[in-house]
């Protein structure tokens, strides 16, 4: 599992001293930890803070380290609660989180209550850039912007809470634009990264290698599609994609994936409607999405159920799977009006 977010203790961990002992002139960042953190940031890994300090400590850490923190939990309750809140807030599963603290007791407490998390001492962390858990296979443009996108997401969520209308009205108010287009070879690294990183919205439940994706983009029997998302808060870049085997009667979506960052923003509905329309235009009568059935990809099943797909069970009991399918008779589903560009005119 690749770590998506490192949650840092501050005192004697990310900082080279105790914040409250010298509030006049707080301790500078620990140079070794700062170097590791900057390296991981450049690989697209997020940073967050869980500290027994007042909230000003997080502001100080931002300014002193020059790092962006996607979330900060400052307070005196359990660190395990802080870790769980941060993971939930960022939409990241606890097994994609690392927690770094110099205090043995805090590490034990988090290990006990959040056993999925990777719990490390600062000494461990010094070696972390060499570990597989901290080495995403590719570093894409989306990865480098990831911290900024989480900051934009926080602003969007604040506005959403204050917004009185429906979700669709909010998406229009945000000037949401979903762009669906055929994949080119240049899109392959990001498509591969999505296949590795997505779990809640991944039909296949496994990654697809770059050479396989590259050959599929050139295959006449397949369609590889990318989905991009932007609104007035910022550009999320490529947030999803799919691979379709375009049979004569049945179009089979062999891989359907979307970043959980795009959840609740009208993307998966747009893609499913677009796929149904394209398949119908291509002469197919059935659109099928074979899907592993797991506790993690319930959001994908919800989207399929909401878009009128029906499931038939398949696969062995130890690896439950189902084929979700939708008949293409009758009028095609409407494309949401936030679908932009070429796809919307087809």
């Amino acid at each position: 599992m690749i770590v998506k977010c490192v949650i840092w203790d501050l005192d004697n961990t990310l900082l080279s001293g105790v914040y409250l002992e010298s509030a006049e002139q707080p301790p500078p960042p620990d140079p070794a930890m700062l170097a590791v953190a900057a390296e991981l940031r450049d690989r697209g890994i997020l940073h967050a803070i869980a500290s027994r300090n007042p909230p000003e400590a997080a502001q100080y850490a931002r300014q002193a380290t020059g790092l962006e923190f996607a979330a900060a939990e400052c307070g005196w309750d359990r660190k395990s609660d802080a870790v769980q809140r941060i993971a939930a807030d960022l939409g990241i599963a606890p097994d994609a989180v690392a927690f770094v603290d110099d205090d043995l007791y805090e590490r034990a407490e988090v290990s006990f209550r959040v056993p999925e998390a990777l719990v490390l001492s600062p000494e461990d962390m010094a070696d972390a850039p060499g570990w597989a858990e901290f080495s995403p296979p590719t570093v894409t443009a989306e990865a480098r912007r990831r911290a900024a996108m989480y900051a934009e997401r926080r602003l969007r969520q604040q506005e959403a809470q204050a917004f009185a209308g429906s979700r669709d009205e909010f998406l229009r108010y945000c000037r949401t634009e979903v762009t669906i287009a055929g994949a080119t070879p240049a899109d392959v690294p990001r498509l591969h990264e999505l296949s590795v990183r997505t779990h809640q919205f991944n039909s296949a439940g496994r990654a697809m290698a770059e050479p396989d994706l590259r050959s599929l983009t050139g295959s006449p029997a397949h369609q590889v599609t990318t989905v991009r998302l932007a609104d007035r808060f910022g550009d999320d870049g490529m947030v999803g994609g799919c691979v379709v085997a375009t049979g004569e009667r049945t179009w089979t979506v062999t891989l359907l994936m979307m970043s959980c960052r795009a959840m609740g923003r009208g993307v998966i509905e747009a893609l499913l409607a677009w796929l149904a329309r394209s398949a119908a235009q291509g002469g197919a009568t059935v659109l099928a999405v074979p899907c592993v059935v797991s506790a993690r990809n319930v959001p994908l099943r919800l989207a399929l159920a909401g878009a009128g797909f029906r499931a038939a069970e398949s696969g062995p009991p130890d690896r439950p799977a189902a084929v979700f399918s939708r008949l293409l008779s009758g009028p095609p589903p409407e494309l949401p009006d936030w679908v932009a560009g070429e796809a919307a005119r087809r």
């Binding site: 959403a160 809470q161 917004f163 429906s166 979700r167 669709d168 809640q200 919205f201 959840m263 609740g264 009208g266 998966i268 509905e269 059935v293 506790a295 319930v298 959001p299 994908l300 099943r301 919800l302 989207a303 159920a305 909401g306 029906r310 499931a311 069970e313 189902a322």
Partner: protein, 87 residues
């Protein structure tokens, strides 16, 4: 369980939906209103919040038992599904 239990569950589900969607008007939705699409506007995000809360409050793991999520057709169908299984 009897019909009274199902209607208690439906009342609690309305509260959960109001919290998940931020839409106060759902507090008054009828048991026959569709949850997906134009009805309550349930999507994968609010649907996940709803299922998590159902699991926490009633101990019923709808996603694990109902492959097609047919129980999510309306508030009424979901309340009946939960009332049958909750102990």
């Amino acid at each position: 369980m009897n019909g009274g239990a199902a209607s208690d569950v439906a009342g609690e589900l309305r509260q959960v939906l109001v919290e998940a969607t931020g839409r106060e008007d759902l507090a008054a939705m009828s048991e026959a209103t569709p949850l997906f699409g134009g009805g309550a506007g349930l999507d994968s995000l609010t649907g996940t919040l709803l299922l998590r809360e159902v699991h926490r409050r009633f101990g019923v793991d709808v996603a694990a038992e109902d492959l097609n999520l047919d129980s999510l057709a309306t508030i009424g169908t979901l309340a009946a599904y939960i009332a049958e299984r909750a102990r």
